[in-house]
Amino acid sequence: MTWSGNELRAQVTKASRGLGFDWGRAKYLGESVLRAERHGLPATQTFIELADGLDTGPSKLGTSTFFQGAALATDAVDLGITLVDHLPQLDFVEPIQLHVIGYPLFLGIVCYGLTGCDRALYVETGTFQCVVQANLIVTASAPPFEGACHLSTCSPSQNSDSCVSRFELESAVCDKLNDLASRVYAPATEASRLAGAGAGLNDND
């Protein structure tokens, strides 16, 4: 099935909430997956692969993770969101090393985290390299699913790659996403149908 960007963002947001994340992180994930997918990174697939193992509670990280470059193997959601919260305080003069699980999603989160500022980050892991900045992820190859990466600051890219506007998702991914999203909906009951919207069932004039 082909989805619009609005649908993808909304459904990932609801699926994240359905997983148990608070609405704030759910919103981050909707925005992040869309940004990654717009630049050709399979963040939806990554999110679904990680979903059952994601910890939706408070962060397991410490602030020192970033300031001391501790290379803990951490899921993309906790690592990515905590990193972007700390971005204003990080100058990356010394490259920071992190061990990322769920690279495509992680890059989407970093991209979202840079929204509204003119900074750019250079991300490197093995042979994979990319530049991430607000609304732009520039990469020449597909990222690994997991790996140790180095982050450093770099000049913003002037690249203006055309973005993907429609998103072809595998049916298994769609099904899983829809299933998670459906958890935010209240069950249909007759009482809800009659009273919840304040109208009768026949509202003709």
Binding site: G5, R25, N135
Partner: protein, 552 residues
């Protein structure tokens, strides 16, 4: 320039529930563009059969592009006719196609558009909509026209529309084109322009369909609807709770809408010496508005009383103008008088009407009413707890007036039903939907965020705080957005037992340019769009003040 009215005064729920359209209403922005750019319209298909079903296509030609309304006309069993989102069938269904559809496009759309939410659109479609006939008016008008007569004006005014839309979906819904993909088109940059164009062309179709049905009933005898009478017909719309979350979920956009209107009001109020012609125009328009309000009916007791108060207060306002010979700072003086002597509805009518003579001060603000929400920043984690508390205390001092220990203060909860994903309101502790609650109670959530911050040392950063208390992230982001967008926050508790959700709906609908607000309960209402507006072939020559009704 005179200072803008304070957000604390403007963003009260009861004032939002009293707003009226203005030069900055989205449908008026669209019609002005059509007039200035001299768009042309053509009906390129009207394949409606003897059973009154089939399809039609109306195309708008702009200087650079074409947009086509593709219509599917159906026969609807009366027992299936309902305005609720949970409906599965309608009298007619529509999509706004980007360009001119081929036969293959029509065939594809015929399989999808009539299904509405169950169908799938493509990037070539900008909106999807449906409408039902007014049971009160449709059959009566068909019979009258078929007999060669024209209907009474009173009959037309009683309803005010031939058909009612029950949803107009845009921006990527059900596979349609994302708004981000068309933001480079000047004609679609202001908010909801594709939706307004859709409804404008639906109105034309409704008239054509009515006249066609009358013709089919009596081919040699039927007459077309008189132009003057037809102009009194707008398009109705039934709006329920689905619109309310929009105002809460898009605070920066709402700030831009409200700020544009408030800026326009302040610019006009700052005029030191008002010209006689401008004063006279506003007087005439208020009179036209009063006449129009006399035809405004509502079955809602609160709204009915508000209409009575409004018409009385507009009389008081007219008397005030009559006893105020000076044109010096006239609008500022009038606003001051209104603020102290008139009801909210009358204050907002004055605020809107006094903008009318000043296109050069007002109309350019339309370009400031759109926001690229993909540019909104996430939480700035470098702020400290102390700075965040100070920010809340500056922006949200009104929260102190809410007593959260009262059961009524948290009596309601917003949820989305799995039944066609209809947004609904439930009663906390009764409906057992807490686990499904939507984040639509910023007053409560920011209060909780403030209380949580209090327990942390002042120099702690938000980044550290959110690592341990992630449930406050949405509130933290909202507080930071509101810092620069003060008109984006409703000063009220959206889960209080006393909430009238229709106040939220009224605010948004007034920006669309809706009139004749008719609450049917505290949770949904009917309105009319484009009443007194020109039809497609008349826009270029339109009276700029058409919305006020005919000159008496």
């Amino acid at each position: 320039m005179i200072a803008l009215r304070k957000p604390d005064d403007v963003m009260r729920l009861d004032r939002l529930g009293s707003l009226h359209g203005s030069r900055l209403s989205f449908l008026r922005i669209l019609l002005r563009r059509i007039q200035v750019e001299r768009w042309s319209f053509e009906r390129t298909a009207f394949e409606i059969g003897a059973d009154c079903t089939g399809h039609a296509v109306y195309t708008a030609h702009t200087p650079d592009r074409a947009y086509s309304l593709v219509v599917f006309a159906h026969q609807l069993d009366p027992e299936h006719r309902t305005d609720r989102v949970i409906a599965n069938a309608w009298d007619s269904t529509f999509t706004l196609f980007d360009g001119i559809p081929t036969d293959a496009d029509i065939d594809r759309l015929r399989c999808q558009v009539p299904l509405q939410e169950a169908g799938r659109l493509s990037p070539s479609e900008l909106t999807m909509s449906r409408a039902n006939k007014s049971v009160r008016l449709w059959d009566a008008l068909v019979s009258t026209l078929a007999s060669g007569e024209q209907p009474a004006t009173e009959l037309i005014d009683e309803t005010g529309y031939l058909m009612r839309t029950t949803a107009v979906y845009g921006s990527g819904k059900f596979g349609a084109c994302d708004r981000e993909m068309i933001l480079d088109r000047p004609e679609l940059q202001p908010a909801f322009q594709a939706e307004m164009l859709t409804v404008l062309m639906i109105r034309q179709f409704a008239r054509n369909w009515l006249e066609y049905e009358a013709y089919l009933r009596a081919p040699g005898q039927a007459v077309r609807l008189d132009d003057t009478l037809a102009t009194r017909l707008g398009i109705g719309n039934s709006t329920g709770l689905g619109m309310a979350p929009f105002l809460i979920n898009h605070p920066v956009l709402i700030d831009h809408w409200m700020r544009a209107r408030e800026t326009a009001i302040a610019r006009v109020a700052a005029i030191r010496e008002v010209m006689d012609t401008d004063r006279a125009l506003v007087m005439r328009l208020i009179n036209r508005q009063r006449n129009e309000f006399k035809l405004w009916r509502s079955s809602d007791e609160t709204q009915s009383e508000a209409i009575i108060d409004l018409t009385q207060d507009l009389g008081v306002l007219a008397d005030w103008f009559g006893s105020s010979p000076s044109n010096q700072a006239l609008w500022a003086e009038a606003m001051q008088f209104a603020a102290t002597s008139l009801c909210f509805e009358a204050q907002e009518v004055l605020a809107s009407v006094m903008l009318e003579p000043y296109a050069e001060l007002v109309d350019s603000l339309a370009s400031e009413m759109a926001v690229d929400e993909s540019e909104l920043r996430p939480v700035n984690g470098a702020l400290t707890v102390a700075e965040s508390i100070a920010q809340i205390d500056r922006q949200y001092h009104w929260l102190d007036d809410i007593h959260w220990k009262r059961a009524d203060a948290t009596a309601l909860l917003w949820y989305v039903s799995e039944e066609k994903l209809e947004p609904r309101l439930g009663v906390r502790n009764e409906d057992a939907f807490e686990v499904h609650e939507q984040p639509l109670a910023p007053a409560r959530d920011i209060t909780a965020y403030r209380q949580a911050l209090n327990l942390w040392s002042p120099e702690t950063t938000l980044a550290e705080f959110l690592m341990r208390e992630p449930e406050h992230r949405l509130a933290a982001m909202r507080v930071q957005w509101i810092a620069a967008n003060q008109y984006g926050e409703i000063r009220g508790n959206t889960i209080d037992a006393s909430l009238r959700p229709i106040d939220l709906l009224r605010c948004k609908l007034s920006f669309f340019g809706a009139t004749r607000f008719d609450p049917r309960s505290d949770r949904w209402l009917r309105i009319t769009l484009y009443r007194h507006a020109p039809y497609l072939d008349q826009v270029v020559e339109m009276d700029p003040f058409w919305v006020y009704g005919p000159v008496q």
